[in-house]
Amino acid sequence: MTNIVEIKNTDLAQTLEINFGPQHPSTHGVFRMTVQLEGEKICGLRPIFGYLHRNHEQIAENLPYAAIMPYTDRLDYVNALSNNFGYALTIEKLAGIEVPERAEYIRVIMAELARVVNHIAVIGFMLNDLGAFFTPLLYAFRERERILNLFEEITGSRLMNNYFRVGGVKRDLTGENLAGIQKIVSRFPAFLEEFEALLTKNEILCMRCQNIGVLSAKTATNAGITGPVLRASGVNYDIRKVDGYSVYNRFDFKIPLGEKGDVYDRFYVRILEIRESLKILDQALSTIPPGEIMNKKSLPMLKMPRNFKPPVGEAYGRVESPKGELGFYVVSDGTPQPWRYHVRAPSLINLTVLEEMCLGQKIADAIIILGSIDIVLGETDR
């Protein structure tokens, strides 16, 4: 787990190099960091990943477009629906397929539920890394279980949903499902109040999280950071507002920004984002129109994926996934398989500033800073 690699004698001081091995006690997956220490302070950090590389892009280049959808679930396995969304958007852009309105509303509802699911899990795990011995994690997971049960009813699976299709969604939401979502949305604020009372003003938490791992807005913008990490540093950039993809521009919601960009801000911005997602869900549930859920033109593609040949060209589609900007780049050459397929994973890009955030901090903070960036290895390594 942790073992010494070498002790270097530099001119000024001896630095110690520690290896946080791929087997991590904090559950972020198989991720490795080598940290150079001078006493207690970190003076160098190098992340090493690739332990979960599964050839996602290569596999997708040999499959017809509709069959890639189940594989995109496995990228960011905590919230599979955002990945589905991104991929569906890209192929629709490539082939010029329109999505019916009811399907757009259903997509927004599922994507926001996925955002809630992800943020709860992240906050829970971050508090677990701090040492709160599973209590906040299990409270968070209690709520998450309700949403996952709902996913199972609607899509067939709790985590690997495979629900969106190019041109719509797979199955319609019944009145019962909508009532279930409404119930979850109305009970959520009570849980958030309890969570805030438990931890947000807790002195121990504040001592450990405030002014740790500060990321300035300038560094973040230059490094291409997106998502809650960027918004906690004070930059107002949310793809749902910038691009207005799907039907997001019909809903009224705000973007929470942080002041300082430290770990506490990233934690609190995620709680505020959950509240905004609940607002969007409320509005979407009350205004969802009846209609069909699948573009008639793309039904044949689902029955015979091998016959779908999009026009030659390229497309880049992006969504605001809970971790940042998730982008899919597809180049088509007229055959049923993509010629090139690439995923822009937010976790990987956000990791590039890990060293800068950790320099000068104590070693006990490195894990917390890593937890606040919110990486998932399925995405980072693809």
């Binding site: 942790t2 010494i4 006690p25 904090s26 207690e40 508090l127 890394d129 701090l130 040492g131 709160a132 011995f133 599973f134 209590t135 299990l138 409270y139 209690r142 438990l198 931890l199 003003k201 807790n202 002195e203 121990i204 938490l205 504040c206 001592m207 450990r208 405030q210 107002n236 507002k241 009224d252 919601f253 705000k254 973007i255 929470p256 920004l257 942080g258 002041e259 300082k260 506490y264 801000d265 609190y268 911005v269 505020l272 104590k362 070693i363 006990a364 903070d365 894990i367």
Partner: protein, 398 residues
Amino acid sequence: MNIPLVSPAIRGIEFNADMIFVTAKAWILSLLGHFLPDWVVVLASITISGVVILCLGPVIMMYLTLLERKLIGRIQNRYGPNRVGKWGLLQPIADGIKMFTKEDIVPAKADKVVHLLAPIVIVVPALMLFLVVPFGERMTAVNLNIGILYFIAVSSITILPIFMGSWASRNKYSLLGGMRTAAQMISYEIPMTLAVVPAIMMSQSLSTNTIVMSQEGPYDMHWFIFTPWGIVGFIIFFLCATAECNRPPFDLPEAESELVAGFHTEYSGMKFALFYMAEYMNAFTLCGIATTLFLGGWQGLFFPSWLWFFGKTFVLICVMIWFRGTFPRFRVDHLMGFAWKFLLPLTLVNILLTALWQFTSNLAAWLWSILILAVSLWVLVKLNRTFIPEKRHYPLES
């Protein structure tokens, strides 16, 4: 007893229930005294006390672990262990069998003798502490007249085997972890000792029995916790006791395993079980001493004294478990800062309050005490900027 108006019959029953263990021991000794010389009876008396403590200690520890898991489970909205025996009552036995049957791994270059001795040496002071804890009226195992001094001295010995264990493991990370643990425990000894001083001052004796007796009064209003210095002293003592047992939120040595190996990484099987046992027995005895010093020990209305003692200790242990379920842990520098820069000055102020209380103990004294406490807390909080949460603003932009 302290109830003046109860009928003699009930008092008789109460007395018998109270003295049940004392009379049992006296009966056994009188049986032996019939056919054995005196010195053997004395030896038997010592043996009975020793055997009772040797059995009581580990059994308490076993069921404490089960209690902790069940309570934390309930806090987290789940059942604790409930598969092994009804309500999980046989779970500690299953854990014990598991610990016994694990392979005992000793690192090749470790110092074998010290590596073996460390877990043994840590259990001995934990058991020795049981000797001065007054379990009930006339139920202290050894009624030393320097009881509290003995307690503080023996509980300080616990630091040494931790350091022995980390040194003997021949692992740089164990060493660093062990040194941090030792530093933590030594720093928290000082506020703990100073927090005990007011209770000694007011009862004018170091013997645990006398301290409990001096908290006697009608309707239990004379327990030390109902005084201004008692409340502050109790809170400080309890926090230091939590830190001494390496329990959350001060469990840096154990949880350092996520970063740097803790002092007991190289131990497995029964040796690890001994470290574990020592921690829980320490927790029990420290809670026991906290009840004797501040909560009135075995004083209480109507029920037998040993029942009161165990009940109060049980409540304090539940509070320790409650801390574990709620708080994240401190970082090293915060931990040390808290002990030296906050708790230590507060204990000195506490001693000042006790001195005030010795002169008068009426409403004026309460008001003066609260005033002095408020001023000193304000000063300490201002000086300890890092402990205060900052206010943050989160603008919501569209």
